[in-house]
């Protein structure tokens, strides 16, 4: 029994993120897979690639999909049973049917689609902004010990401030509509991102910089051709985490006088006393979040990033 799990554990990393929908989660927060019992250092390449191929196909895709679907289905069935036997009154827990109905309604009116686009747009802009500013800042801080020491307390301080607390400032500084929402998303995702990238840079093996020095890389080349690619796998991980934050924050961000968006939809549903619509929007938010998370995982398959998840 142990033998098998050890083997599986060994085989996991490669397989895991090729086919199954949600597997890259294991990569969440951990970029290196474990060392294993066999020393494959000296195995010939033919062997290595063969092993990879077999391990990839060793468990069928289908079984990977079936289990999560069973879990989800049983959740839905549980929910249906609860509402069928009226364990909670319908105002306390909308029935699956009511949610489905409101889903259909929102879909047909085109509002759901509109809200999705609006939210995706805001999250995308806020997130891209924080990536554009956060990645260079994180790289810079990671390489300068003094600067890192000087700024981490500040970064950490701002990390703990809820976007809800920023709302008045968001409106006063950025007025209402998209801009303050983007600002709030930015504020929520920027600081954790910078801190994560900063820490990642601090763990780059010194040898890479030594090699860059040997080959006479200029300092600009060192940043773009060594530091950046060396932390790219961890940048992707950090981006996933901070994207996750950005997406969770959408509900808070769309309090600021937005007229559409999934988060706004939830507020409107609450104000409109429509718990069914609220649940419908929650489901859409959860599913879209998961979906985009999977998109990020596609990056981890790029050959010049994948090394960070393989060794």
């Amino acid at each position: 029994m142990l033998a098998k799990s050890a083997m599986e554990r060994r085989l996991r990393p490669v397989k895991e993120y090729l086919f199954s929908p949600f597997r890259g989660i294991r990569l969440f927060l951990s970029t290196k897979s474990q060392s294993d019992l066999s020393n494959s250092d000296t195995a010939s390449v033919r062997e290595i690639s063969k092993e990879k191929v077999t391990s990839r196909h060793s468990r069928s895709n289908r079984s990977r999909l079936v289990l999560p679907i069973i879990v989800l289905l049983s959740l839905v069935i549980l929910w249906s049973l609860i509402s069928f036997f009226n364990l909670f009154p319908s105002y306390a827990l909308p029935t699956p049917l009511a949610v489905l109905k409101s889903f259909k309604e929102e879909l047909i009116s085109g509002r759901l689609f509109n809200d999705m686009i609006a939210s995706l747009w805001r999250v995308a802009v806020g997130f891209v902004l924080s990536a554009l500013l956060g990645i260079p800042l994180g790289l810079w801080l990671g390489q300068h010990l003094r600067a890192r020491e000087a700024f981490t307390p500040m970064l950490n301080f701002f990390r703990f401030l809820s976007p809800l607390a920023w709302i008045p400032f968001a409106i006063l500084w950025f007025h209402i509509g998209d801009k303050p929402a983007i600002f709030l998303i930015f504020m929520a995702s920027f600081f954790p991102l910078v801190i994560a990238i900063m820490s990642a840079v601090a763990t780059i093996p010194a040898i890479y910089f030594r090699v860059a020095y040997d080959f006479k890389y200029s300092s600009w080349e060192t940043i773009t051709r060594v530091t950046f690619p060396a932390v790219l796998p961890q940048i992707i991980t950090s981006l996933r985490v901070s994207y996750g934050i950005a997406w969770v924050v959408i509900v808070a961000a769309e309090m600021v006088g937005c007229q559409d968006g999934l988060g706004y939809g939830i507020w409107e549903a609450r104000n409109g006393l429509r718990l069914d619509a609220a649940v419908c929007y929650m489901i859409v938010i959860g599913l879209l979040g998961m979906g985009i998370d999977r998109l990020f995982m596609q990056f981890t398959k790029m050959p010049n990033i994948r090394w960070g998840y393989e060794r």
Binding site: N39, D41, T42, I207, V211, D214, K216, A230, P303, W307
Partner: protein
């Protein structure tokens, strides 16, 4: 090689080095001829890596002078290949100065052939075995205009049989593309198999306890007499013939 006799690639004169109070090297004198293969052995922590850093100009000696004549490249004990570049791109790092694209590509092709890695040009380091990675490192430092190779325990992470093969590989490659080599190792057999000259360092603060010339042709069989004799002598200098575990 005999006609290059008088070119000194590396010259250390009375070099000493301290790390903020820690005396590491004391009064080293060393001259490395062009094309020569110098192997440095010594107890761990005695300052071998420090010595290479002095030779490469990466650090300045506390006193004494270091003269370098030529372009220096280093192979490190740890994997120094950039894992985000393919074999080809890693090798191309050594050819950065070559502007002619065609020439560069031909050179890369030559080098890949030299290290017997045809077909793996577009593989990434993590897709290769340890021996293959070390061969790519060799190709990278040999590429282009390099004159001097510094090698800091390049094979110590490999298993014995691969290590054995890599020694032959190194000898073969250097036959085709002669370079001046300073090679640091813990492995006395390796030193005896590869060196023109073995430098044995003492414990810290390190001075040179023995210089040993080995004049047999390479490649040398690890059980050949000259290797055994040299091994015996080095073990003797290092006091390793019947070591005890006390100071491991």
């Amino acid at each position: 090689m005999s006609d290059e006799n008088e070119i000194w690639r590396l010259t250390l004169e009375n070099v000493s080095h301290d790390y903020s109070g820690l005396a590491v090297l004391r009064n080293l004198n060393l001259r490395v001829k062009a094309g020569e293969m110098v192997v440095i052995v010594g107890p761990s922590g005695c300052g071998k890596t420090t010595l290479l850093n002095l030779l490469s100009g990466y650090i300045k000696p506390s006193s004494g002078s270091v003269e370098i004549d030529g372009v220096i490249r280093t192979v490190y004990q740890q994997d120094g290949l950039f894992p985000w570049l393919t074999v080809e791109q890693n090798i191309a790092m050594g050819l950065r100065n070559l502007d002619d694209k065609q020439k560069r590509e031909r050179e890369i092709k030559d080098l890949v052939e030299l290290i017997h890695l045809e077909g793996f040009e577009h593989h990434y380091p993590h897709q290769l075995s340890g021996g293959m990675r070390q061969r790519v490192e060799l190709a990278r430092v040999i590429a282009g205009d390099s004159d001097i190779l510094l090698m800091d325990e390049p094979f110590s992470a490999l298993d014995y049989q691969t290590r054995l093969r890599m020694r032959y590989e190194l000898v073969r490659i250097l036959k085709k593309r002669p370079r001046t080599v300073v090679f640091v190792t813990h492995d006395i057999e390796e030193a005896a198999q590869l060196a023109d000259k073995v430098i044995v360092l003492s414990t810290r603060p390190a001075h040179i306890s023995r210089k040993l010339n080995i004049n047999t042709d390479r490649p040398r069989n690890p059980t050949s007499d000259s290797v055994i004799a040299a091994t015996r002598e080095i073990l003797d200098v290092l006091g390793l013939e019947t070591p005890t575990g006390k100071d491991i």
